[in-house]
Assembly symmetry: C2
Homo-oligomer: 197 residues x 2
């Protein structure tokens, strides 16, 4: 998605060979118009999949997921990293380790909002080692629903998450795919061929 | 806002005299179309205030805030309850106690995204004792920006937050104002007069 790649090139900050900071438009300050375009792109990519629900994870997945839900006219459920006082239903849970943050969270959603009749699109802001996405997959599968696809805003393709998820048979679609952050520079996987089709 | 009050009446669950559960459309499962209408309503209410930024708090404030930001064509910044690895700028912080969750968090935003030239709209999902909103006010004021208003999705008017904030001179606008949750029933403050104007 060219608009997103431009935004990353112009406003992203490379903090190390592994860490890209996009706090100015995605995960601290949010650019709502960019989120709307991201939502439209996900809606377009997954249009044929019969998706009935979107599942994401707090906090940075919420804005792109809600815009996708708006475009697709379906509800969005966000998994929590901490238990809520008012979340008293039976919970579907998974354990997720974040290598970037070096912490392990139990993530959960209520079993009321996803069930075996659903085809679920999982959306998240980043895909690196795939831990968060795999946690969301586990939760969705516990509910009996099908994972219809995984939509990622920014994929760090030099890490193994995307391949791991594809090897498990999931459709993974990332709007920006980064092949390298080395030497302080963002390099994208060239998608010119795809864009010309 | 009648649409919101209907949604609360039809889908909210009263867990106690103090706790209203709106997990089916606001703070776990999210109804994106309702969020868009909420965003439109905030944009309309605060149209004359010259607002340049919206500040909210993770996680449940994000969806309504982003929809308001979309309508007002301005950026949204969400305060974090936990420190982010990539949030390495100087932080503006405040301590917030949640009576509902019985926990105290240090909330923070980067000082890069709000400054003395800004007029800030604070948005949050709930207003009860006003702790979260007051924390956001403190953060915004530390930056030198002005608080132009406080927009709340659901106000528990039988608690003291709204009055506290108004007494401090802030414009507080809540889209649904609940006067009581007693006997398992949601009672709204009657706004028919306002709606007829």
């Amino acid at each position: 998605m060219r608009l997103l790649e431009e935004k990353i090139s112009n406003n992203g900050k490379v903090l190390s060979d592994n860490v890209l900071k996009v706090d100015s438009f995605l995960n601290h300050q949010i650019d709502p118009k960019l989120m709307l375009e991201i939502g439209k792109e996900f809606a377009s990519i997954f249009a044929g999949e019969g998706i009935t629900k979107i599942v994401t994870i707090e906090s940075s997945g919420i804005a792109p997921a809600v815009m996708a839900g708006l475009q697709m006219n379906i509800p969005v459920i966000f998994a929590r990293k901490r238990k809520s006082l008012t979340l008293v239903d039976e919970l579907l849970t998974a354990t997720v380790h974040s290598f970037t943050k070096n912490e392990t969270n139990e993530i959960s959603i209520s079993n009321k909002y996803v069930n075996e009749s659903d085809r679920v699109l999982i959306i998240d802001d980043f895909l690196a080692n795939g831990e968060a996405a795999l946690g969301l997959v586990k939760i969705v599968q516990q509910s009996g629903a099908q994972v219809a696809g995984i939509g990622i805003v920014i994929e760090k393709s030099f890490q193994h998450g995307a391949q791991k998820l594809k090897d498990l048979g999931f459709r993974v679609e990332s709007l920006a795919r980064i092949s390298s952050l080395s030497k302080g520079k963002v390099t994208f996987i060239n998608e010119k061929v795809e864009e010309m089709i």
